[in-house]
Amino acid sequence: MTELEFLSWVRGPGFQIATVIFVFGIIVRLLEIFLLGRKANLAEANGSEMSGGMRAIFSRMAPESDTMKRSMFTIVAGYIFHIGLFIVIFLFAPHILFFSDVIGFSWGALPTPVVDMTSVITMITLAAVLLHRIKDPVMKYLTKTQDYLVWLVTFLPLLTGYLAFHRVGLPAPSLLALHILSVELLMVLFPFTKLMHAFTFVLSRWYNGAISGYKGVRS
């Protein structure tokens, strides 16, 4: 397979396969959750499930002061790499061009040097997060192979994207192909790993807030 054949495979069939697994996988996972349902609550309510649930979706973005003190690194680093990923994925001009091809509309991009810097900050933060996972006693105890795997497939698109943009090491088509391939790897693993939290956190926060809201507690 030549360099260009490789690129056209990852852009064509490779991407199609990844997209199918990504989309159907997520639908199946969400159905697996919803189809379980839950029992109606027969206790007299002291508040609203809906408003408690909706509130929690947003309120969990702002931790309580004691939590902030005790989990400072996790919270700050978590914020940085999530926002960083958002900027790099959705506000980089070439990415927007790609998305608009798929979904038919586009939006404004951030200046490329800003995205470039963001990708570096995000990679550094992810490296710090990995170190924290290895060093911190609780994190170490909690960590399973999947946590490292998910870290790797999140980090690789950033790294390959950075290398492709700066044309480091390999010819441009190969770098681009590797970048797309790393994204496809992320997409394929997405429905089978904790990466699913990107969708299910909305449900979890809603359920949590609803359970508390029913009792008149703001969680």
């Binding site: 996972r29 909690l142 939290h197 449900l203 979890s204 008149g216």
Partner: protein, 420 residues
């Protein structure tokens, strides 16, 4: 797989619903729940990380309800659920969790871990891996009617003392009373002053109330051990009496888990909506306050703080009422750091206090409460749960601290003006 183990796995499977599946799908292993749990913060041991305590439930969910997990199971790659595994988890699920719900408040993806611990206990109980202390308490609750083995004759004797000491009648089995007042055995045996306080307050406010000779115990060991059938039977005893006496409202006593049991789990265990209301005593007292039916005199002027029992505050929704009531009788009321819905558990709820094996970790985790009390230099601690109260007294003694622990209901009763 032994039959018992199969049944345990089945019981766990039965517990899994959409919230559980979304919680377990969302966990990113960030470790923040550990920082919210006093069993971890005070021991530093990572094994007490809350989300890990639900591992039995998680394994069943993964192997039964996820595509990938079923595949792994089919090819023998899934971690098996063995008797040894559940035995190892017994301490984590029962000794080092009070179901206080603090971890559920901090999880960034919104996991209600406590909701899952409660469910995990259903499977643990079936597997037989439960602390002896809880088995004993539950057996006594079923056969005698009280986890401490208190029979009505003992309550009757306490009622006679209270009537003599306080000079108020304590009504029993009065049909058509507005309120059926429940008690905890802890109150009957250790704090009968609570009964006196209720008699005095209800006389003062002209409240029609009664105790029941057949159902006076409000606590529910069935919930703490995790056997819903037993929990339902214990709830049903109260429901039957409330219906027989035709009361409008059942009052949950100064006990946190009793409130969760009858107020929030009760109708779901009984399988029907109640034809009467259920209120915590603090809610009833605050309603009386709002209606202007409580006239108090004098103020406590020493530095007083309030310990929110988890099941009354964070898990129960009764947060403002105690503060309204305290402000009636205390001039120097201070809030501890994290007071209210983020308060730290005393360390003894959810069956921990009935489990002697947990004594050491229970007292070790009390350091959290100690630090909270020291931060405000409290001179008096008021609370509304006799289980919290007895454990806090125990903890204060162990740490050589001299702070009286008082009941909010009793404090209020002391400050009532004499009826004209």
């Amino acid at each position: 797989m032994s039959t018992k183990l199969e049944q345990a796995v089945h019981a766990l499977k039965e517990q899994i619903d959409a919230p559980v599946a979304s919680f377990l799908s969302s966990c990113v292993h960030c470790g923040m729940c550990a920082q919210a749990c006093l069993f971890h913060t005070e021991t530093g041991d990572p094994k007490y990380t809350p989300i890990l305590k639900v591992e039995p439930l998680r394994r069943v969910w993964q192997q039964e309800y996820t595509f990938w997990g079923r595949m792994k199971k089919m090819f023998g790659l899934a971690k098996p659920i063995t008797d040894e595994f559940l035995a190892e988890w017994e301490e984590l699920v029962y000794d080092s969790c009070t179901m206080c719900g603090r971890c559920s408040m901090v999880c960034p993806v919104g996991n209600d871990i406590t909701y899952m611990i409660r469910k995990t206990r259903e499977g643990m109980a079936v597997s037989g891996h439960v602390p002896d202390g809880l088995v004993g308490a539950t057996t006594r609750a079923v056969t005698i009617g009280s986890p401490m083995g208190v029979k009505f004759v003992a309550l009757e004797a306490q009622i006679r003392h209270v009537e003599k000491d306080y000079g108020y009648k304590v009504p029993v089995d009065v049909e058509g009373a507005d309120y059926l007042c429940m008690l905890s055995s802890m109150e009957i045996m250790n704090f009968p002053e609570y009964i006196g306080a209720i008699a005095k307050i209800f006389d003062h406010a002209d409240v029609s109330w009664t105790l029941s000779s057949k159902a006076f115990e409000a606590t529910n060991s069935g919930i703490q051990i995790g056997v819903s059938d037993i929990a339902a039977e214990l709830v049903q005893r109260i429901v039957s009496e409330a219906e027989r006496l035709k009361v409008k409202c059942v009052i949950s006593p100064e006990c946190g888990h009793a409130y969760t049991a009858i107020r929030w789990e009760g109708p779901n265990l009984a399988g029907k909506k109640f034809g009467f209301k259920v209120r915590h005593i603090l809610e009833v007292l605050d309603e009386l306050r709002q209606e202007g039916r409580l006239k108090t005199e004098g103020m406590k002027d020493n530095r007083l703080t309030y310990h929110d029992p988890c099941q009354i505050g964070r898990r129960g929704g009764v947060l403002e009422q105690p503060r309204n009531l305290i402000n009636m009788v205390a001039s120097d009321f201070v809030e501890m750091p994290d007071a209210g819905k983020m308060n730290w558990c005393c360390g003894a709820g959810g069956g921990v206090s009935t489990n002697e094996r947990a004594d050491e970790i229970r007292l070790k985790s009390f350091q959290r409460k100690k630090e909270q009390l020291e931060a405000v230099q409290a001179e008096t601690l008021v609370s509304a749960c006799s289980n919290c109260r007895i454990h806090i007294e125990d903890g204060l003694e162990a740490y050589h601290m001299d702070i009286p622990v008082i009941s909010l209901t009793e404090t209020l009763a002391e400050h009532l003006v004499d009826k004209e």
